[in-house]
Assembly symmetry: C2
Homo-oligomer: 138 residues x 2
């Protein structure tokens, strides 16, 4: 049995976050000592590792809830898990696409300003004031 601190050390998830996951229904309420402290079994540790891994990959809490439900019911179809992963992948890809456009624009803006002149002549500030100077949409 692990205390909440031991679980935190083993998974890298902060104590407050573990309690938060319990409140959100991601982690089942663990056993308690006579003095009301949480005590986790191996399955609690496994589930927290699952959650952490999914969070690291950017899955939202609700998506993780659905994935956990499927994980707990191995006889169901995995179509939903597949759909959730595809959605997440598409989401990540569209974020990348957007950030790349921003990167293009920001690097153009930043390299045209050497930081040595007056603010009145600053390319960073003029670019922000005049959208027409931009070369991409964002």
């Amino acid at each position: 049995m692990f205390s909440i601190g031991a679980l935190s050390d083993r998974t890298g998830v902060k104590i407050a976050t573990i309690r938060y996951y319990e409140d959100m229904g991601l982690l089942p309420p663990p056993e308690r000592t006579a003095g009301n402290q949480r005590r986790y079994s191996q399955s609690g540790l496994d589930r927290l590792a699952f959650i952490k891994h999914a969070r690291d990959l950017g899955f939202a809490i609700d998506a993780i809830k659905a994935l956990i439900t499927l994980h707990d019911h191995p006889d169901r179809s995995c179509a939903q898990a597949n759909a959730i992963a595809q959605t997440q992948l598409a989401d990540v890809q569209s974020k990348i696409a957007r950030l790349r456009r921003l990167e293009t624009e920001l690097s153009r803006i930043a390299t045209n300003c050497y930081g040595a002149g007056r603010a009145g002549d600053c390319y960073v500030l003029t670019s922000l004031a005049d959208h027409d100077l931009c070369q991409t949409k964002h």
Copy 2:
């Protein structure tokens, strides 16, 4: 003079967001009609366009505040504006790098699951449960 709705239409910034920017000190409080409604001048419109452009590029409210201050003081050095833009660029680049790692992992996970089998055999779910199946760090 523009009403808040006209300003919203012209910039694409929602009315509630315009008021929020005013509360945050990004937009100066505009004139008011006898009946207490906001009326903006051209300079209010220009400033909101500046803010919107900066937000679209991902600058945080505090960074935009600093940029506006510089914009209002054209005789100051533009070193700070340059630094803010460089920081924002670096931030965007590190987000891209992280998302690309996630994309690699997610597409590996998603393409190994066809959504047709049992949840118990689902590659999405097994991968989440076992970090060792991953090929990159995240």
